[in-house]
Amino acid sequence: MSNLVIETSGLTRYFGRKCAVDQVTMSVPRGAVFALLGRNGSGKSTIVRMLLGLLEPTRGSASVLGEDCQRLSPATRGRIAYVAEGHPLIDWMRVGQLEDFQKSFYPDWDGHLFAKVVEHFDLNIQARAGHLSRGQRAGLSLALALAARPELLIMDDPALGLDPVARRTLLETMILMTRDAGHTIFFTSHVLDDVERVADHVAIIDRSILRVSCPVETFHARVKAVVLEFAGPPPQMPKLPGLLESRRTANQVRLIIANFGPDAERIIASLGAMSVNEAALSLEDAVIAYLGRRGEQTSLLSDIKEIGVAK
């Protein structure tokens, strides 16, 4: 059995002339909780739909559980659970009817687990899916997915639109599932706080190009924030390899640098700063640095203040 449950190679998708996913090559190891992060329209959902064979790649290939994603057999589909963006369900069905509907396809249906998750989300078995709140729909979607006992759970932005309590409950349920080694979770998200809690692997797709795919520890180790303090106004920053973000204040420059190494250290040393200190960097800040405008920039707030002063 391969240790990789998802493998893509040069996976590309165009919509008309617009490239939505540009030659994405990545691997998801078995047992990982893999978070795919990116801004709206960066191609996350497109990747998910291609992995599930719901969308044909323009170029490249992808395999899931060892099978070409365009020809997933019913048996393999039975090993993959999918929670789509927005938690679509059959709205006229009641919670119990949805369970009956879903379990008719899965011989190993875990009714006990379904009941547990449903209870966890405080769902009434008689309630119609269309009448549930977003959080409850998310819970029901997760219950339907988990009770099928999948090897691989693919979720497309499961926390989208959920309140903090519902989000926390969702995360707890995901964590519950990963206790059992061998289960893999692949999910996309905007909520970086959640990612930090549950994910052990992170991938970042920026403007349809995959920039990061690694364990969270590796990401933490290789993305650094450095604060340079100067006696006067900071000088113009030279071209710095791996520079993700540079913010300057009156006599400070804060840099976020990927793959921080000797080259970057040498260039920074040449700037003549009074002090160079490594600052704490959360996963959220690091990811935002990847997804925002790269290079030297000021904050929007200070820009507005400056405009106000000038007037």
């Binding site: 190891p29 909780v33 719901l54 019913p74 059959i90 006229w92 795919s213 590796t218």
Partner: protein
């Protein structure tokens, strides 16, 4: 699969119920208000021939569209069963709902109509066949609905094209002579639409990735819609051009016989006036209104073959009313209050119904009237032409009767031999003898024409016979009337010459014993050619698909009056075909095509012309191109390598921020 089937049933039951109620109400209204057999009435035909397909098409579309919205598609499709099984479950539920929505109101209507005392009209089970055929007709429409919703297409543009094939099948089936014929036509449409819909469903609407037979089925389905849309658009466009002043209406000259036997020639002009001349072409000071007043009142009789073995299908339909509601019961002219008479072709009987009790009142057969307690007596032959629904004269191929519904009598007139069959007939009421005496009734004449003779009956008694001198195909009709001088006049009418030598009309006058006393040969009438400018004619023919144009001209090859010359058409077919083929070749560069696809599409477009190009655009999905950094040419983005130089795609530029590493999952590390 059962779960999907039940889900589809439950989810779409409300739509089916809505359709059932709507169709039920319409059918009930028609059944209650219709004068005549409701099942074969035109309004009921309209309900089933429009309502059933609409129900099928809407149901098919809804079944896909409901699952396509708000991401539900993935929830439905991603499960451990093949998409084919999902499709089968959907179709099974959809067909069941369709038949539920349509067959239930139809069955209720049939039960109501078939129960004596409910409807004052004859009933026979064959009447159900026509409506049952319409019921089957909804199945291709249902599949067309599925295909239209499932295939990748634009909402405004090509989305509804698959309905074209169902439409064509429905049009042909409407002219079918039997349930079997209609069922065969619908089965043919289903054979194409079912795999096309299946292919679109399992391949996410994509066209390119399907197998060749599926692409062919989808191509045929869409081509039908393209052709219909194209023809409608062309018709509207040229209609607009013609309305701008390029009028193509042809005004035909004709002869008019006045009551004193004088023959004049009248020609309608473009400005709406009528020019009247004598046979030498001298203008006469007569207006169209005066001509109408002075015209000889006469009976017009169409001359035509009546032997079914020698008739074309369209002639059979026209003459014997073998298709549609007329195949089952002709409503005859009203005679008395609360009684409605019908001619029932299948039984060859004339049956009367009481409109109050709505039960059989009696019948009229060769032996006369028989009460409801006796089985209606059949006439020996099937009467021809529904024209006789308004006449007493009833004629078959070799027999003629005068049936007086008011008197409830049938009088045998004559029988002829198999080699001298009846080729036309009509009746005529002559007012000339009445004068100012109110006690005198107008003379009732029956004219019956066989291959050799015109039989003239006065008040159901043989008066005299006139030898038939001219007949079809050169002469398509004749007028017989009695002039003010007591003579009879027979006007044999020939077709228009259209440039070729054809016989002219003939006018024969006889005395009141049928002896010919005068004969006038009239010059042939020449139909003027189209009066539209040549550029418009050329544009119109250029718009016709080249293969169709060639076929039409081939069909008209024996008609020297047709406005096209072979050379001109051959050149036009070649030019339009070649331009379309070249356009197809250029268009094919937009697509990622298999080997041989370009020549195939060039051939299709050569044959189909502009509709072929529209089909190509409607079916194929455009693949973007980008400049190859190696050779600088525009290469397809869907190929792994440049089709010109073989260069692979360059990976996205690395900007130094990339971090790629496949690590060990935390859970495994913890366990390890």
């Amino acid at each position: 699969m059962k779960a999907i089937f039940l889900k589809e049933l439950r989810e779409n039951a409300k739509w089916a119920l809505l359709m059932l109620v709507g169709l039920g109400l319409l059918m009930t209204y028609q059944t209650v208000t219709q004068n005549g057999p409701p099942l074969v009435s035109y309004p009921m035909h309209g309900i089933t021939v429009l309502g059933f397909p609409a129900a099928g098409f809407v149901l098919g579309m809804l079944q896909v569209l409901q699952d396509r919205r708000r991401g539900r598609w993935g929830f439905l499709i991603h499960r451990p069963i093949g998409r084919t099984r999902v499709f089968v479950a959907k179709v099974a539920a959809g067909i069941l709902l369709y038949f539920g929505a349509t067959a239930i109101p139809l069955a209720a209507t049939v039960w109501w109509v078939a129960t004596p005392g409910h409807v004052a009209a004859p009933f026979e089970w064959d009447m159900v066949a026509a409506r049952a055929a319409d019921l089957l007709g909804g199945v291709p429409w249902y599949l067309a609905g599925l295909l239209a919703a499932a295939r990748e297409a634009r909402w405004i543009g090509s989305r509804l094209f698959p309905a074209g094939l169902a439409f064509i099948a429905a049009v042909f089936a409407d002219f079918a002579l039997s349930f079997g014929e209609a069922a065969l036509l619908y089965a043919g449409a289903v054979i194409v639409l079912l795999p096309a819909a299946w292919g679109a469903f399992v391949a996410e609407g994509e066209y390119e990735s399907k197998a060749a037979p599926i692409r062919l089925a989808q191509g045929v389905s869409v081509a039908a819609g393209v052709l219909i849309a194209y023809m409608v658009a062309m018709g509207l466009a040229f209609g607009l051009v013609e309305s701008l002043g390029y009028n193509t209406v042809v005004f035909s000259p004709q002869y008019a016989i006045l009551h004193d036997g004088q023959v004049v020639r009248q020609t309608a002009a473009k400005d709406g006036t009528t020019q009247v001349t004598d046979l030498q072409g001298h203008a006469l000071p007569l207006t169209a209104d005066e001509i109408s007043r002075l015209r000889l009142t006469a009976s017009e009789i169409m001359l035509r073959e009546t032997d079914p073995a020698k008739m074309k299908r369209s002639e059979l339909e026209d003459l014997y009313g073998i298709q549609g509601g007329d195949a089952y019961a002709h409503v005859l002219y009203p005679t008395e209050q609360y009684v409605q008479w019908y001619y029932v072709p299948s039984r060859q009987t004339i049956e009367g119904f009481n409109t109050v009790t709505r039960r059989l009142m009696g019948s009229i057969g060769p032996s006369g009237f028989a009460g409801a307690d006796r089985t209606p007596e059949s006439f020996p032959e099937r009467f021809i032409d529904q024209l006789y629904a308004f006449n007493n004269l009833k004629i078959g191929r070799t027999t003629a009767y005068d049936v007086n519904l008011q008197m409830r009598q049938a009088k045998f007139l004559f029988t002829t031999t198999a080699d001298d069959t009846i080729i036309g007939g009509n009746e005529w009421s002559y007012q000339g003898d009445v004068g100012s005496d109110p006690s005198k009734l107008p003379a009732q004449y029956d004219f019956i024409v066989t291959h050799s003779t015109i039989w003239v009956y006065k008040n159901a008694n043989l008066d005299f016979k006139i030898p038939l001198e001219y007949s079809y195909p050169d002469y398509f009709s004749l007028e017989i009337g009695r002039m003010t001088n007591g003579r009879f006049l027979v006007h044999y009418q020939a077709g228009y010459a259209m440039g070729k030598p054809e016989p002219g009309d003939e006018v024969v006058q006889t005395d009141d014993r049928g002896q010919i006393v005068e004969r006038t040969e009239l010059p042939p009438l020449v139909l003027p050619g189209p009066n539209e400018p040549q550029w418009l004619q050329l544009t119109e023919t250029a718009a016709v698909p080249p293969a169709l144009l060639a076929f039409l001209v081939y069909e008209e090859r024996d008609n020297p009056g047709q406005p096209f010359s072979w050379r001109m058409v051959a050149i036009e077919v070649m030019v339009i075909g070649c331009i379309s083929a070249v356009a197809a070749m250029l268009l094919m560069r937009r697509y990622d095509s298999r080997r041989g696809a370009t020549p195939l599409w060039m051939a299709i477009c050569f044959v189909m012309g502009i509709p072929g190009l529209l089909l190509l655009i409607s079916l194929r999905q455009v693949v973007a191109r980008e400049t190859c950094p190696a050779c600088g040419r525009q290469r397809l983005i869907s190929r792994e390598r440049c089709e010109y130089c073989g260069m692979a795609f360059v990976e996205p530029e690395r900007v130094g921020i990339e971090i790629f590493e496949v690590g060990v999952p935390a859970a495994q590390a913890a366990h390890g």
